[in-house]
């Protein structure tokens, strides 16, 4: 039997057990199995057992705390002297402190806060006294959180989740050295902030140019979400509308020509997990309406089936386009945007976080040939703006690794980095040609002509792969097909 002594509403699954609505994630102690797990879903990595000290003079309050902290290693101290002994001897993760320890005590709990804080213990005051002066003093002395007694059932699980997510900065250090490499303080701040929302069911939208790590961040957030299902990613720009629908919702045998067998869609695959929709701006309005409904109701029907299926997926999305522009141009429906944007994180391009270039290269060569850059080569690499971001960096590392013994000279770096084209006589001549064209046909026609040339060139260079053109030129599907229609006629679309 599960004890669910925390706030939150429940829905009946119809299978004889109830699960909480996913409006909050809190740790729950499973008496029968003897471990903690996040409410709603059992985590892949079960919640760790923490060492906790409760400093509390009231015997009833100690018992209440013991119940709320079941599953953790909990020590108790009923007075200041005992608390000091415990704090000096023990290695605690969290310390709950009452302020008045005894009938005639003079706030000795406050005096224990600096001792706990000095030992880097996450110190939480739980007191019946909540005057502004007391709260200010407690925070000034180093307490991490301050609570008024009386709602421990809800507050304690939330405190533990926050502690585990923050983990005193240790977890963040590991993340920034491994799963999401960045030394940029602003990016670290953004990722740390996003991690606070990882264990919720809120949707997340990640913005940023191609190659800035949007998918990596989405995967990281999923890994820290406590959701037991899979991380299912799909690039919306790589599919036509029909294919995207089949890919998302799945289909039944015979639903359309070529549907030889039943196929599970991405929504079903992401059950209890995360559905990551990359290049969400490339999705048609029609598709957005269908997906909106599925997100709202967590229910959908595969193609060729009128029987609804259920999937408890969390949505994360990404785009390299300007969301406000997509909304203004009605490429993105506002109601759909409302369902998917939740918390928004914007990742900076590598050009604005050059401190990450060499740490990323180190990581990319971790399992292969290590590279040593001569000072001039290092300067050259840092001077480059890396418009392709980590993808360009990865290609550069692969090229350099394959072509050198590991020592990178300026010449090698120059050979493998394509600098941004400077304004040359040739480009000047081209600009002159477009100027003349614009004078004759109007600016819009000149822009159309240039767009057509660039799109067709990119299409040729990518062997006709439209998804690659969308990603490379960072354009919308609408612009691509509109341009192809104009330059190649309707059949060229």
């Amino acid at each position: 039997m599960l004890w669910r002594g925390f706030i939150g509403s429940f829905q009946n699954t119809g299978a004889g057990n109830s699960v909480p609505y996913r409006n909050d994630i809190v740790p729950v102690w499973d008496y029968s199995a003897g471990f903690w797990y996040h409410s709603g879903y059992r985590t892949r990595g079960l919640m760790q057992k923490l060492k906790i000290l409760v400093i509390e003079d009231d015997s009833l309050a100690r018992e209440v705390m013991a119940e709320n902290l079941a599953g953790h290693a909990v020590d108790f101290a009923a007075d200041k002297a005992a608390a000091e002994r415990r704090l000096k001897a023990g290695d605690y993760d969290i310390c709950f402190v009452d302020l008045l320890l005894g009938v005639d005590d003079d706030y000795s709990g406050l005096k224990l806060i600096p001792l706990a804080a000095a030992k880097k213990i996450y110190t939480v005051v739980m007191s019946g006294c909540d005057t502004e002066d007391t709260i200010s003093r407690a925070y000034a002395l180093g307490c991490s959180e301050f609570y008024v007694k009386g709602n421990e059932v809800a507050n304690i699980p939330a405190i533990i989740v926050r502690y585990l997510q923050g983990d005193g900065g240790k977890k963040a250090q590991e993340i920034f050295a491994g799963d999401f490499i960045t030394h940029d303080p602003e990016t670290r701040g953004l990722v740390t902030e996003a991690l606070k929302y990882a264990a919720t069911s809120l949707p997340l939208m990640i913005l940023g140019p191609s190659g800035t790590g949007k998918t990596t961040l989405a995967q990281l957030l999923h890994d820290h979400s406590g959701r037991e299902g899979d991380f299912v990613a799909m690039n919306c720009s790589a599919y036509t509308e029909d294919l995207l629908e089949a890919e998302l919702f799945g289909y039944k045998r015979g639903a359309f020509t070529g549907a030889h067998e039943n196929r599970k869609g991405k929504l079903a695959q992401a059950d209890k997990g995360t559905l990551f929709l990359d290049e969400i701006g490339a999705m048609s309005q029609n598709m957005q309406v269908k997906l909106l409904k599925a997100i709202e109701e967590k229910r959908f029907s595969p193609l060729g089936s009128d029987k609804p299926e259920y999937s408890d997926f969390r949505v994360m999305s990404a785009t390299l386009e300007d969301v406000q522009k997509l909304l203004a141009e009605k490429q993105l429906r506002f109601d759909f945007f409302q369902r998917v944007h939740g918390m928004t994180i914007t990742l900076k391009p590598l050009a604005q976080r050059k401190c990450d270039i060499f740490p990323l290269m180190q990581a990319l060569t971790r399992k292969g040939k290590r590279l040593a850059f001569e000072p001039e080569a290092r300067e050259y690499v840092l001077a480059h703006n890396w418009p392709g971001n980590t993808r360009e960096l990865k290609r550069f590392v692969e090229l350099v690794s394959a072509g050198t013994h590991g020592q990178v000279t300026l010449e090698t770096a120059r050979r493998h980095i394509t600098p941004a084209a400077p304004a040359t006589a040739a480009t000047g001549a081209a600009a002159g040609e477009y100027y003349d064209y614009a004078l004759k046909h109007g600016l819009a026609a000149a822009v159309d002509r240039l767009t057509g040339e660039l799109v067709n060139r990119s299409l040729d260079e990518n062997g006709g792969k439209r998804a690659a053109v969308l990603a490379q030129l960072k354009i919308s599907k609408r612009l691509l097909y509109g341009t192809l229609s104009k330059t190649r006629g309707p059949e060229g679309k």
């Binding site: 009833l60 309050a61 018992e63 209440v64 008045l100 059932v153």
Partner: protein
Amino acid sequence: MADIEKIYHNIKSKAVNLKAAAEQLDKYPQDKRDKFIPLMREAAQDIIRLLGELEAQPRK
């Protein structure tokens, strides 16, 4: 802190502890309930004592 403030604080503290225990009591197995009830009674008696002390304070 003045004595009267401590009395108020202790009443509040005892009362919230009592409330927290009362709210969870029905979820506990019988052996745990048996352990909690005497502690709750003790807290209730403390509250009565503290209220007595409050009444005994000089009137403003």
